[in-house]
């Protein structure tokens, strides 16, 4: 048992903290709000520092580090509310494709992620309200090529992405397809979302694509994507919670009312103590999921538990942090609101707490059926 980071991870922590400290100033973050909360210069700086390829293979320009090391970076991104789509690009979209990295199109997409020249995303949501239904998007072969037709919504980093993978049905068979975003068959429009990041709505009308996976392997890729999304969100959320709690503690130490610091009132201090406990629960759950994904084996339970704690801590800490700040906390000239909007974004991107508990509960029941 050893909860310490290794030497390399500490270097990544210091490097990213320094870089993000320089780039995530209030002035720059405000400016990023005009561009879909995306700072292209910071993203390129991260690429140049090797951070975008942190967990991608050396042969593609990456640093070949494990997932746990990537979570060190993700936590710092949360701590600074960095205006970059690292979570969907580096974790959810890229890592599940590593088993297929011998395909030329996957190699090209991941190489572009490492260098910053391109961005890979995954379009996992369709407009249909029924979340469990099979994808409505169709794949059709013509003249030895495959074309996709259908609609995708809430695509993270969708406006910046150069490549995207998604689900489609060829006849009755579901497959995973990769397509270039800049092509005639792809129309995308920006979708505004609560934390200011741009998502995208994709209308695919004969978008040329490559089949990556079909049959049973589809589930393996989707499962991996869910695990990475959940665990990576927990790491990012840990950083957001640290950030919110640091602001709230500082505010309550300085702000005087009734002739005393706010934090000297137990009703205030104890709310923040509860936030601290939630944050520490999230941290250990996140660490466990990261180690489990690093080591292989079934990460279903640990990533669900980490995601549960992310939803719990994000919701409770953001509201309590707002509460102890009073009006200051909601003022857009004060940094707290960005953390809170991200908290809400991540919580719902995970599908919400009850869907996570339903999945966890059904796993427990299945494992303990008489």
């Amino acid at each position: 048992m050893d909860f310490n980071l290794n030497e390399f991870q500490r270097e990544i922590l210091d490097l990213s903290d320094k870089l993000l400290g320089d780039y995530c100033t209030q002035a720059r973050l405000r400016k990023a709000e005009d561009t879909g909360y995306f700072d292209a210069e910071l993203w390129q700086q991260m690429a140049d520092a090797g951070l975008l390829g942190l967990a991608l293979p050396e042969s593609l320009g990456g640093m070949a580090q494990d997932f746990e090391t990537l979570t060190v970076l993700l936590e710092q991104l949360g701590r600074h509310v960095a205006p970059v789509p690292a979570l969907p690009v580096l974790a959810t979209a890229s890592l599940p494709l590593l088993p297929y990295a011998n395909a030329a199109c996957v190699q090209a997409a991941l190489r572009a992620v490492c260098s910053g020249e391109g961005m890979l995303t995954a379009a996992l949501v369709e407009p249909s309200i029924n979340k469990a239904s099979a994808p409505q998007t169709r794949a059709e072969g013509r003249d030895g090529k495959v074309y996709l037709t259908g609609e995708k919504t809430c695509v993270p980093a969708g406006m910046q992405a150069s490549a995207c993978w998604t689900l489609a049905q060829d006849g009755s068979e579901v497959g995973i397809y990769l397509f270039a975003c800049e092509q005639e068959g792809v129309a995308r429009r920006v979708q505004e979302t609560t934390n200011g990041q741009s998502l995208a709505y994709f209308s695919l009308d004969g978008a040329q694509a490559e089949l990556l996976v079909k049959g049973a392997d589809v589930d393996a890729v989707l499962t991996a994507a869910r695990h990475y999304q959940r665990a990576a969100t927990a790491a990012l959320a840990t950083g957001l919670c640290e950030g919110m709690l640091a602001l709230a503690s500082e505010h309550c130490s300085q702000r005087q009312q009734f002739g005393r610091a706010l934090g000297s009132f137990q009703a205030v201090a104890h709310q923040l103590a509860d936030c601290y406990i939630d944050k520490e629960c999230l941290r250990v759950a996140s660490e466990r999921a990261a180690c489990q994904l690093r080591d292989g084996g079934d990460a279903d339970e640990s990533s669900l538990v980490a995601a549960y704690w992310a939803t719990e801590a994000l919701h409770r800490i953001s509201h309590r942090s707002q509460q102890v700040h009073g009006g200051t906390g909601v003022d857009r000239d004060y940094p707290l609101f960005r953390y809170c909007l991200w908290a809400r974004q991540l919580e719902m991107d995970l599908g919400g707490q009850n869907s996570l508990l339903a999945a966890l509960g059904s796993n427990i029941a299945a494992a303990h059926a008489a």
């Binding site: 048992m1 909860f3 009132f265 103590a273 466990r288 180690c291 303990h368």
Partner: protein
């Protein structure tokens, strides 16, 4: 980072689990513990088990080597207590972990070796006499007096919630030796009072969960050699209890027991299949599982921090609050699944041998015992978050 126990640590846990099930939690002992009078220990089989526990070296296990212990690290100490409590053994936390080693370090030579021998041999138990009818969380306001009379001390006063005093050989007593109440915690001294002293008496308090006691001290005369530590120097001995001890109050195995047992019951027979397939039942199980997973890691990480040389104070306080409130929450989540039968008592009807029913009755003490959660939250706020101290 490696959040798993090492192979040695896992083997250690397994060894304790086997030891507890094979040698300690025998059927006759379980039957004795089921009697309310002996539910904390004190019955004839309890003393047999304690002597065996001592002879097998487990009471001394986490004592420092210089005090005659085996010098187990805080993680091993945590695992030992965790497994014992998971098995349902009334672990002698006070003599084995918190008070025993402090006594051995600060006791006067005239009595030390004899009493340390009794403690380590499982022949004597110490009860803690801190709380008084008018001194609970504000311990420094306690009023029990000890006055010097030649080579002796005369003790007068009353203690309450002196758990286990009804079968203990000694009371680890905090008394006021400086009559000036303004001195507060600087006027307190620790004494070890033999429970066979003239003027000492003990009455039972029947709580809704367990039996505890009130202890009375009427002109109890004890020689100065039973004073522990300096005169008016008692406070550091009271507060210096290891933070790992606080962790043990809410150790994972202790809290998870109800979840483990409920799940075992649900998969023991197909009559429970429909229940197990019910969405809200699955949700209750999932909430319990997600929160217990965090408790397990919080406990281990806190013990690891202490092993690494940290004080672990904030971690232990945070874990104590979380674990004790989870204990209460868990009692509800699991009981709901089998309600209304979850409230049944008696050998014929009780679910899980009564575990489910008495969890609620016994569990409420966890949030205020071992340092009220309000005090723990204040520690987290000031030491963990740097907030200013309250008024």
């Amino acid at each position: 980072m490696n959040i798993e126990l090492s192979a040695e640590q896992q083997a250690f846990s397994q060894k304790i689990r086997d030891y507890m099930s094979q040698h300690m939690m025998t059927d006759d002992f379980k039957a004795e513990l089921a009697c309310e009078e002996f539910s904390h220990g004190g019955g004839p089989i309890y003393w047999q088990k304690m002597r065996q526990l001592g002879a097998d070296g487990w009471i001394r296990y986490s004592w420092p080597e210089e005090l005659g212990g085996a010098g187990a690290d805080p993680v091993e100490q945590y695992l030992l207590v965790d497994e014992a409590k998971r098995a349902g053994f009334p672990w002698p936390a006070l003599s084995a972990n918190s008070i025993g080693p402090v006594f051995a370090k600060h006791a006067q030579p005239e009595i030390r070796d004899k009493i340390v021998g009794e403690i380590l041999g499982g022949e004597a138990y110490l009860a803690i006499g801190y709380s008084e009818p008018s001194a609970g969380s504000d311990l420094a306001s306690l009023r029990t007096r000890a006055e010097r009379d030649g080579d002796d001390w005369i003790i007068n006063g009353q203690k309450i919630w002196t758990s286990c005093a009804n079968f203990s050989q000694y009371i680890w007593l905090a008394a006021r030796t400086d009559p000036d109440p303004a001195k507060r915690h600087k006027g307190l001294t620790i004494f070890l009072v033999p429970t066979n002293s003239v003027g000492y008496s003990c009455t039972l308090i029947h709580t809704m969960g367990v039996v505890t006691t009130t202890t009375y001290y009427q002109d109890v005369r004890i020689p100065d050699c039973y004073r522990v530590g300096e005169v008016n120097g008692g406070w550091p001995l009271i507060t210096g209890q290891l933070n790992v001890e606080r962790l043990s109050l809410v150790s994972y195995g202790h809290v998870a027991k109800l979840y483990d047992e409920t799940l075992k019951l649900l998969c023991s027979d197909t009559v429970y299949s429909e229940l197990l397939a019910t969405p809200w039942v699955q949700r209750n199980l999932a909430v319990a599982k997600a929160r217990l997973s965090a408790l397990k890691l919080m406990c281990l990480k806190s013990a690891w921090k202490i092993e690494q040389g940290g004080s672990g104070m904030v971690e232990a306080s945070a874990t104590k609050v979380f674990g004790s409130e989870l204990y209460v929450e868990l009692g509800r989540l699991m009981a709901e699944i089998l309600a209304p039968a979850s409230n049944l008592r008696g050998a014929q009807d009780a679910v899980l041998n009564g575990l489910m029913e008495h969890w609620y009755r016994k569990g409420t003490v966890h949030t205020f015992g071992g340092g009220a959660n309000e005090l723990q939250r204040s520690i987290v706020a000031t030491a963990g978050l740097g907030l200013p101290r309250g008024a």
